[in-house]
């Protein structure tokens, strides 16, 4: 039981950056934009988050800087997407390569350094609750933020006017436009919120879960975020569930390391074939009648891909 409890604590803690990032990407994709630079953005924001935390010796500064850097990168992507009408996939991909290399280059001077630590904050009273107290109320501030982000994002997207406008822009830009919604603005906002959260996630890696900086510090996490976002069906709760599942796999991989070297190398890579399988399954359910699959599973699996996702803004919208 203790083992289970400890594992849960570790999973939630370790998944913190993943949750933040995948929620950010979900919001961005709801507005119609895939941020394919996630891998690069997370890496460079991890670096700069650490650097600024290190220089000022205040962790929060690092987090804030990474947040705004992520926003800045997203603004660039949005400019290329909306103003220059470039292919978001091409821009995102090149940016990933660019930012990854840039991180390694600038980061050389910052390897093996010790930066500011962030401590666990125990919520008074609530943390004394047996089991749940330890699992939910004994974490660092950034983990609390990640947990709070989940319902916040859901509320934002589904219960606010801005969230709804953003979603409408990602579903049917022409219809939204005809109803007086500023589609360009909505897409911009969605992209930038997404990018900022990706940045915040990056800082979470280097200032919390995978402490410090090293070459290729956050390698592959960006790609995995893109996968989990699809897995999450563009729903913050499901996306978070996907992030935690991946975190669980990682924890198992660490524990399995003592068992076999081979297994520990492979487990972290498992999410991808799983994701492909799920994607195929989703397509199967969407295109066929799928009478053989119980309704419960169908409703769990089917995600609502924003119809305008990945596409350029229609020309009619000037």
């Amino acid at each position: 039981m203790i083992f289970f409890e400890n594992t849960l604590v570790t999973v939630i803690s370790l998944s913190t950056p993943l949750v933040i990032a995948v929620i950010g990407e979900t919001i961005s994709e709801k507005s119609g934009v895939i941020n394919l630079s996630a891998e690069g953005t997370i890496m460079i924001c991890a670096l700069f988050g650490f650097v600024f935390g290190y220089i000022t010796d205040i962790a929060i500064v690092g987090f804030l800087f990474a947040f705004f850097l992520g926003a800045g990168i997203a603004i660039f992507i949005s400019y290329c997407d909306i103003k220059l009408r470039m292919d978001q996939i091409a821009v995102g991909f090149v940016l990933t390569v660019f930012l990854s290399h840039l991180s390694n280059y600038i980061g050389q001077d910052y390897v093996r350094l010790n930066g500011p630590m962030i401590t666990k904050i125990q919520i008074p009273l609530l943390s004394k609750i047996p089991f749940l107290g330890n699992v939910l109320f004994n974490h660092s501030f950034i983990t609390y933020i990640s947990i709070l982000l989940i319902p916040t994002a859901w509320f934002f997207l589904n219960k606010t006017t801005l969230g709804l406008s953003i979603r409408s822009a990602g579903e049917n830009p022409l219809a939204a436009n005809s109803r007086g919604i500023d589609v360009k603005k909505m897409r911009f906002i969605g992209t930038v919120i997404g990018g900022s959260l990706l940045g915040l996630a990056g800082a979470t890696f280097s200032l919390y879960t995978k402490y410090g900086w090293s070459e290729g510090h956050t390698t592959n996490y960006g790609w995995i975020i893109l996968a989990i976002a699809i897995f999450g069906g563009w729903n913050p709760y499901r996306a978070a569930a996907g992030a935690y599942s991946f975190g669980l796999l990682q924890v198992l991989a660490i524990k399995a390391q003592s068992v076999t070297l081979a297994l520990s190398q492979i487990l972290p890579l498992l999410p991808f074939p799983i994701m492909i399988f799920v994607l195929i399954f989703i397509q199967y359910i969407n295109t066929k009648d799928a009478r053989y699959v119980p309704r419960v599973i169908v409703s769990l699996i089917v995600g609502n891909q924003p119809e305008a996702l990945g596409k350029k803004l229609p020309e009619e919208i000037k």
Binding site: N158, K159, T160, T161, L164, S165, R167, S168, E171, N172, L174, A175, A176, N177, S178, R179, G180, I181, N304, Q305, P306, E307
Partner: protein, 478 residues
């Protein structure tokens, strides 16, 4: 609400789409009639703010309103119901309703809004849960809800642009009841349509547009003969030499019962011989194009072309020309020469560019295509694109399936195209074409299918028909 449209004019280059249109409305359901290209959709776009006119004004309740902005038009109480529902498939009805809603901070008053919507739903007999996802509803239901939404946002004038094209009979009934109720509440409705049967059913007054001008105002009781003659004034036609040939090979068309208006009919044409030209007449928005495509891809219905032994032809025996030339028929970034390579090297592994070039040059000359071989298709005019598509026809025997072969072409280009088409009319070719132009149907067909909506109303030899009968059929009148 009183709306006055004064001297609205709009040109697109040489084409004058609207010429001095003047119209006054203060209540009721008003029809906007006219042939394809008469200027209806331009007028609608101007009123709804999607386009600015070159001159003229719109006065609502004595005030001159700003034109050219969709947002302003909405503010002024003008609502537009498009042919395709402008809603959001993945959102729920409620959410789709809320996008762009005319309320401050809607989510705070969500319960009040829900109640208001449900009240409206009740008044207009709509029985759908607000949490239903939009894409699980039929188009009819979606359009109904769109109407309610326009109403909610304060529309006092609602324009419906060919709204019922995809509707079933039940859905139509639903919408018409809603429209009548709306009209009783004082909402002005402009109903743009070709379908005379529907117009006669719910409109009280109407305006007929022709060549950009408002030529006639009509009112109940409607004189269908007079209206038809005003709308479809037939033009002088340059008579092309028609060849009368020995017709030998036959083919069959098997019709799916659900495609025929009269399911039990037995008296329609059954024998088709190669050398026949079959014209599929229908109004814009009818399924006449779909039938043509269906003969090629067999996706739309079970209606099929078979050879005289009852077997299907190979797909290489068909040549299909879609109406959307660039979207479905050609490759916009490939140049002319490459198109000929694609079309005439089907079974060859290697491309002999010398031969292809020669073939291409011949075709360009024969079909009078004004372009260089290395121009990409997107650079060509519509007329030239059409000629290119025609020139890509294989030289062997084929069944030609032409969707609106002269769409968007001027009189002369259209004639030329038909000259080229008819040159293929020999013992080995069957030609099926769809058109919304009655004169074109009349001029070139030997056998005419009349389509209204998605039903084939009639199949007859031209000799057994008159233009008026055809018009009646395609307008849904029986």
């Amino acid at each position: 609400m009183k709306i006055q449209i004064k001297n609205l004019s709009k040109s697109f280059g040489d084409l004058q789409a609207n010429k001095n249109i003047t119209l006054s409305l203060n209540s009721g359901i008003h029809a906007l009639l006219g042939e394809n290209g008469a200027g209806k959709s331009t007028l609608v776009k101007i009123i709804s703010g999607q386009l600015s006119p070159d001159s003229g004004e719109i006065i609502i309740n004595g005030e001159n309103i700003g034109l050219g902005s969709a947002k302003d038009s909405i503010k002024n109480g003008i609502g537009l119901l498009n042919q395709d529902p402008l809603d959001f498939s993945n959102l729920s009805i409620l959410e789709s309703f809320l996008v762009g809603i005319n309320e401050n901070k809607p989510f705070r008053k969500i319960e009040i809004i829900k109640a208001k919507i449900l009240d409206l739903f009740e008044i207009y007999s709509i029985d759908i849960e607000l949490s239903t996802k939009t894409n699980s509803l039929s188009i009819g239901e979606r359009q109904q809800i769109e109407l309610i939404r326009l109403l909610y946002n304060g529309a006092k004038l609602i324009i419906l642009d060919e709204p019922t094209s995809a509707f079933s009979l039940d859905q139509k009934k639903m919408i018409f009841e809603t429209l009548k109720k709306l009209s009783d509440e004082g909402i002005i409705i402009i109903f743009v349509s070709h379908k005379l049967d529907e117009i006669f059913e719910i409109c009280e007054t109407g305006s007929i547009l022709k060549a950009g001008e408002l030529i006639e105002s009509i009112a109940k009781p409607f004189d269908s003969k007079k209206i038809l003659s005003k709308m479809f004034e037939t033009a002088e036609f340059h008579k092309t030499e028609k060849k009368y040939l020995e017709r030998v090979n036959k083919f069959k068309i098997i019709f799916s019962k659900s495609d025929l208006f009269y399911e039990n009919r037995t008296d329609f044409v059954k024998d088709y011989t190669f050398g026949n030209v079959i014209g599929i007449a229908g109004l814009q928005g009818s399924s006449n194009d779909k039938f043509i495509k269906n003969f090629f891809s067999n996706e739309f219905s079970e209606t099929r072309i078979l050879n005289e032994f009852g077997n299907p032809f190979k797909i290489e025996n068909y040549y299909y020309m879609p109406a959307d030339r660039l979207e479905r028929g050609l490759f916009k970034d490939l140049n002319l020469l490459e198109h000929y390579a694609l079309a005439f090297s089907l079974n060859k592994t290697f491309l002999d560019w010398k031969i292809i070039k020669q073939t291409a040059k011949n075709k360009i000359f024969k079909y009078n295509i004004k372009s260089n071989l290395n121009n990409s298709l997107s650079e060509l005019s519509g007329g030239n694109q059409q000629r290119v598509m025609l020139s890509l026809m294989p030289d062997n025997e084929s069944i030609l399936l032409l969707e609106q072969p002269t769409r968007g072409l001027d009189y002369n280009s259209a004639n030329k195209i038909w000259e080229m088409i008819l040159e293929r009319k020999n013992n080995d070719i069957a030609i099926l074409f769809s058109s919304t132009d009655i004169d074109e149907i009349w001029e070139y067909s030997d056998i005419i299918f009349s389509v209204s909506g998605s039903k084939i109303m009639d199949i007859s030899y031209k000799d057994n028909l008159t233009k008026e009968t055809i018009i009646k059929y395609i307008s849904g009148l029986v």
